[in-house]
Symmetry: C2
DNA sequence: CACTCACTTAAACGATTAAACAATTATTTA
DNA sequence: TAAATAATTGTTTAATCGTTTAAGTGAGTG
C-alpha cells in the first residue's frame, strides 16, 4: 500500500482507503465473527439463545439436531464469546453472552430479518 | 415444533421461540448474507467499495489479488445485490449497491471495527 | 483488421467445514 | 460404588469454498 500506484488513474482515491485505516488483521477478525453466523443452524442456535437459556438436549430438540452436533456449534460460539454457559447439576445451560459483539450481532440479525420482511421475535 | 415437548422441562419457553416467528428459510437467507462477508478478502472488497468506485484491476491492486479472483468475488457480491456495476468503455466500475442490506452490512462492519478498537474510515 | 487491454468464464486443485458415529468424561442418583 | 444421564471429544466421510491457471469474450486503438 505504501508508495504503490494503481494500474489505472481514474482520479479515485482507492488506495488511500486502506492507508492508516483498518489493518489486514482487522478484516480477518471481523470476517471470522461474521462466519460464526454464516451457518444457518448456528445462526438459529444463536438467535434462540438470544431469547432463552437452556441445556444442550433442549436446544438440540428445538433445532432438530443431534446433541453432539449442537455441542460442537455451541463450543464454536462460546470460543468466540458470543454465548456463555453455566453448569447446574448434570446440565450445562447456554445463553447469549454479555458482550458488545453479541449485542451487535443480535441487532444486525434482527434488522436483517426485518429488512427481509420477517416477523420479529 | 408443533405439539412436541422438550426432553427436559426447566420452565423455559425454548420451543415457543420458534413458533410463529422466523421461518427456517429466513435463517438460511440471513446466514447466506452473513457468509458473503465471512471471507476476509470479500469483506475487504466490500468495505473498499463502500468508500469508492473503481475498476477490477484497481480493486485487485488494492487488495493484492489476481483479477480473476477479484472478478469472482465481485460476481458473488453482485449476485447478492450488495454491489452494483456500470460499464464505461473497456472498464467495469463497481461500487456499493443502494440497498438496505448493503447499508446494514456497512453499518455492522463499521460498528464491529469500532468495537474491536480499530480506526474508522 | 489485427493487436492490446479489461474483464469474465471454466476447470482443477487444495483447504476448510459440517454431519454422523463412536468413545470418553463428568455428574447425579440409587 | 455402580448405574444412568448429560455433555464433550475425536474421527471419518462428504461437501463446500476459495484460489489458481488458462482460455475466451469484447471493446478500444493503431
Amino acid at each position: 500500500m505504501e508508495n504503490k500506484k494503481l494500474p489505472h488513474d481514474h482520479g479515485t482515491h482507492t488506495l488511500e482507503i486502506f492507508k492508516g485505516t483498518y489493518e489486514n488483521r482487522s478484516f480477518e477478525d471481523a470476517a471470522d465473527i461474521f462466519s460464526l453466523v454464516s451457518d444457518s443452524t448456528r445462526l438459529k442456535i444463536f438467535c434462540l439463545l438470544c431469547h432463552t437459556e437452556d441445556c444442550v438436549i433442549n436446544i438440540a430438540a428445538a433445532v432438530q439436531m443431534s446433541s453432539p452436533a449442537v455441542s460442537h456449534h455451541l463450543r464454536v460460539l462460546k470460543n468466540a464469546r458470543l454465548i456463555s454457559s453455566r453448569k447446574a447439576g448434570k446440565e450445562v445451560y447456554y445463553t447469549v453472552a454479555d458482550t458488545r459483539e453479541a449485542e451487535l450481532l443480535h441487532a444486525a440479525v434482527d434488522k436483517m430479518m426485518e429488512i427481509r420482511g420477517c416477523d420479529t421475535l
